[in-house]
């Protein structure tokens, strides 16, 4: 066993930035423009009706103090550079080279309202990324408008709605069929688009049965939305038959490629029969995710559905790239413009750097790494794999359970997640709802982390198992080496205790004070 890291986060108990500084504090002191400049450019550059009359509520601190404050805040995080085997999210290193590419003025200083003749370089990258995703999926057209995976699932639901409305059958095709283990965004977005949701349970093999699918689909089925493998890590080998049955009932078939990493370059959604699919560029394709930046759900579909895509679609006409807005059957827009373009550029850089062979090798490494993890985790007393009767090897991630050790010690998956942070390890991903196995956790090593990193992660889990037996109170009250001790979940359920902005916080505080005065 490797020695667990000794770690302690910095702890800066300082106020929020709005409470720092003093009246008159400022970052830069700019001189007033000279008369010559004033007379050349005029003094009323901002039209009167647009100029604000009050002063903005900004913190009055020096540039140095602002830098120091944000340095302190960054020191209190794990920095997204640790061993983060956060299953279902496919954590990857986000290359600085790609980051710098997006900071170039050819991208950073352009606007989507510019004339397309002045945007040819950016449009080419989008067009070429579309081409590479077509190669990986067999689809005929990709768009990048969706701001994330759920947004791309919603694109599918809206495309299906437009498709059935165009056929005059929306009144009949009212249902979306999915698996209980599909990402919750599939039923949620279908419901948001007005479809009824029909879930299929996992049966003995660890995935829904063909019988259940046959019973579920009918002339009322508008579409099916499915991922494979799902979060248990089990690949459904009957997927082709699935699609055949659904299509026989006339349904559209959508492949949610959230768990693409283990099958990258190994299969084609179109060859399996799907009409559409979705890739998450911020996960699988090496662009940053979550706190690292905005996301992109790349949505691709067959020619038959392409007519209903949101506009604009980037097209190549001759040797020029253009924005096609003239698509009369389009479902409209999912988001503004053509997507989070810097993210597309970063994914483009990742895809070009990996190459077709590299992408396939990445899939192999991620599956091998996960199977190595499965073997070592199975040797730790107190852990249990999901679907223990399924002998097929798991793909790029596996749903595990702390059920046995929780039963023995009362220490569960939330406690483990808290304690991991004490070793500088990012807390693990547990499971989407509903929890099918007790006290779940779902590691995914991907192709990034070395064997040493993976061993370290497993050793920390083993160590916490020991601690759960020898000193449960300590585990229960973790984290102890972090900037902030355990966060009480109750606070999230009481809107009076949190706010997303300083203005909202002040408003809530004022309301609370008035309430107190009213009560008095």
């Amino acid at each position: 066993m490797t020695r667990p890291p000794e770690f302690h986060a910095a702890k800066w108990n300082e106020p929020v930035v709005m409470e720092l500084g003093r009246p008159g504090g400022r970052g830069q002191h700019f001189p007033a423009p000279e008369d010559e400049i004033r007379s050349a450019v005029g003094i009323d550059l901002i039209p009167g009706e647009m100029a604000r009359t009050d002063r903005p509520d900004l913190p009055e601190i020096t540039e140095f103090e602002a830098q120091r404050h944000y340095l302190h805040l960054s020191q209190m995080t794990l920095g997204m550079m640790g061993v983060s085997l956060f299953g279902t999210c496919t954590m990857k290193y986000n290359s600085k080279t790609a980051e710098f590419a997006t900071l170039r003025p050819e991208l950073a200083a352009v606007h989507p309202y510019q004339h397309p003749d002045t945007l040819q370089g950016v449009l080419q990258i989008i067009h070429d990324m579309d081409g590479m995703l077509r190669s990986l999926s067999g689809m005929d057209q990709f768009i990048f408008q969706a701001g994330g995976g759920a947004n791309a699932a919603y694109t599918m639901a809206c495309v299906a709605r437009a498709y059935w409305a165009d056929k005059g059958m929306l009144g009949q095709r009212t249902e979306m069929v999915t698996s209980v283990q599909a990402h919750p965004c599939n039923p949620a977005t279908a419901a948001a688009a007005g479809f009824k949701v029909v879930n299929l349970p996992l049966e003995e093999n660890g995935y829904p049965s063909l019988d259940a699918l046959r019973a579920a689909v009918s002339g009322n089925t508008a579409l099916i939305m499915i991922n494979n493998p799902d979060d248990m890590g089990i690949y459904n080998p009957e997927i082709k038959e699935w699609v055949r049955i659904a299509k026989e009932a006339g349904a559209l078939c959508f492949y949610d490629h959230a768990n693409f990493n283990g099958v990258m370059g190994k299969l084609s959604a179109r060859e399996l029969g799907f009409d559409a699919c979705m890739f998450m560029l911020h996960k699988t394709f090496g662009a940053p995710k979550a706190g690292g930046g905005p996301a992109v759900g790349a949505f691709g579909c067959s020619d038959e559905l392409a007519a209903y895509l949101p506009t604009p679609v980037v097209v190549k006409a001759g040797d020029r790239y253009a924005l096609d807005e003239d698509r009369p059957k389009s479902m409209g827009k999912i988001r503004e413009y053509w997507g989070n373009v810097p993210q597309v550029v970063k994914a483009y850089a990742w895809t070009r750097a990996m190459g077709a062979d590299g992408i396939e090798l990445g899939a192999d490494i991620s599956v091998v790494s996960n199977n190595y993890m499965d073997k070592r985790l199975a040797e730790i007393p107190g852990l249990a794999i999901s679907n223990p009767d399924v002998s097929a090897r798991r793909m790029e991630m596996t749903r595990w359970s702390l059920g046995p050790i929780a039963e023995e010690t009362g220490i569960g998956t939330v406690d483990f997640a808290n304690r991991m942070a004490d070793y500088g390890i990012d807390p693990w991903w547990m499971s989407h709802e509903p929890w099918i196995v007790a006290e779940p956790f779902t590691p995914e090593p991907g192709e990034l982390w070395s064997k040493e990193d993976i061993d370290l992660w497993i050793d920390v889990v083993a160590k916490i198992c020991e601690e759960a037996r020898s000193d449960p109170e300590m585990v229960k009250s973790a984290p102890h080496n972090q900037a902030i001790a355990q966060v009480k979940g109750d606070a999230f359920e009481d809107p009076a205790k949190w706010a997303m902005t300083w203005r909202a916080w002040k408003r809530k505080q004022e309301a609370a004070d008035q309430g107190k005065r009213g009560a008095a």
Binding site: P201, A216, E407, G412, E433, P434
Partner: protein
């Protein structure tokens, strides 16, 4: 101990679980106890209760426990680092009466812990009255009720959390108290029945980091499903509403109070029968169309033939497979022992006809396909 701490009461059914080890499927009734002892059964309930309280003593030493006297509780806690206050001695009969008498004496406690099985759960909750907080330490043969911790150690951990970190604990106000007719079980038929609901402490699933989001509350989802069902009710059709909290949501959605343990019936927006018998339901149906709203028993997944035998094969046949409306939360379906639902109507041909797949309503505009089999 802080002043606001809960007071725990404890009662043990010392003979719980006796029948299991010797194949008797339960220990209800003095005859069975004698037979179990004859077959060499060794009582283990007390020892299991001690394991739970050893965990409590370890993690929250000095906790106050009001305990029934002797073998009914206090005797099993000797030597543990707890502040055990034994109740006055009671006359021990060796029957369920002991549990009931002791539970009544513990009425003043905030949480009554019991060691036993489903029979003990029934006795304790019946003595305490509705809505009272209980926690079962699993010691019995049959444990279908939702009041049990998953192990003695887990029960001890829950209790210590209640003392030291109460924010880790949530409360389930609708834990089902179930019991099985043991005579039927011994003849090979599982027939659990719902006897009421209790308030039970549960480990709270605290908010997950970054992408979990709040889960849909089962009760809210079922309320939505019930409202959708009520909105779509056909004029003149008799809706027979089976027992349980899930189906109870239908009457609640109509502004009425469900009888919960019995069968209710509604027609044209009105409750036309409460806690009805099979004959009453048949008579009400008359020549009109019938639809039957059913819940699912926890863990086992029974639809028909468990606690709703008033719904007769002839009524079910009239409703037909299309006329069965099943309601359950997604959590309940996810935690079934097998991903199956079962029917046992008493008519094998009907059971066969009902087999296949069926849609369970889990929320408004939300269903789960479930495989149905004949038990």
């Amino acid at each position: 101990m802080p002043a606001e701490a809960l007071t725990f009461g404890l009662v043990v059914n010392p003979i719980a679980g006796l029948g299991g080890a010797v194949g008797l499927k339960g220990t209800d009734g003095p005859g069975t106890v004698a037979e179990a002892l004859d077959r060499g059964a060794v009582p283990r309930a007390g020892e299991r209760v001690r394991r739970a309280f050893a965990r409590l003593a370890d993690r929250a030493p000095g906790t106050l426990v009001r305990a029934a006297p002797g073998k009914l509780a206090a005797g099993w806690l000797e030597g543990l680092d707890l502040d055990v206050r034994s109740l006055a001695p009671i006359e021990v009969s060796g029957t369920a009466r002991d549990t009931r008498v002791a539970a009544q004496a513990l009425t003043g406690c905030d949480l009554v812990v019991f060691g036993g099985g489903d029979g003990t759960a029934r006795d304790v909750t019946a003595s305490l009255g509705p809505g009272r907080a209980v926690l079962g330490i699993p010691c019995g043969v049959k444990m279908h009720s939702g009041a049990f911790a998953i192990s003695p150690e887990a029960a001890g951990a829950l209790l210590s959390d209640l003392v030291t970190s109460p924010d880790r604990i949530g409360w389930d106000d609708g834990a089902e108290i179930m019991d099985i007719d043991e005579a039927a079980l011994r003849s090979g038929r599982i027939a659990p029945q719902l006897f009421g609901h209790a308030r039970v402490p549960v480990s709270r699933k605290r908010m997950q980091a970054s992408k979990g989001g709040p889960s849909t509350l089962a009760a809210d989802a079922l309320a939505g499903a019930a409202r959708e069902l009520v909105e779509g009710m056909s004029q003149g059709t008799l809706y027979v509403i089976g027992p349980g909290t899930s189906t109870g949501a239908v009457l609640t959605a109509m502004g009425a109070t469900p009888s919960m343990l019995g069968i209710d019936a509604v027609r044209d927006g009105r409750v036309v029968a409460r806690d009805a018998t099979a004959e009453e339901l048949e008579a009400l149906a008359g020549g009109a169309p019938v639809r039957i709203v059913l819940g699912v028993t926890g863990r086992q997944g029974f639809l028909l033939g468990r606690g709703n035998q008033q719904i007769t094969p002839s009524l079910i046949a009239r409703a037909g497979p299309e006329g069965l409306i099943v309601m359950a939360s997604e959590d309940k379906l996810a935690t079934l022992a097998q991903p199956r639902l079962w029917v046992d109507t008493g008519d094998p041909e009907l059971d066969q006809a009902l087999s296949g797949y069926l849609r369970v309503k889990t929320g408004r505009g939300r269903e789960t396909m479930m495989r149905v089999g004949a038990s």
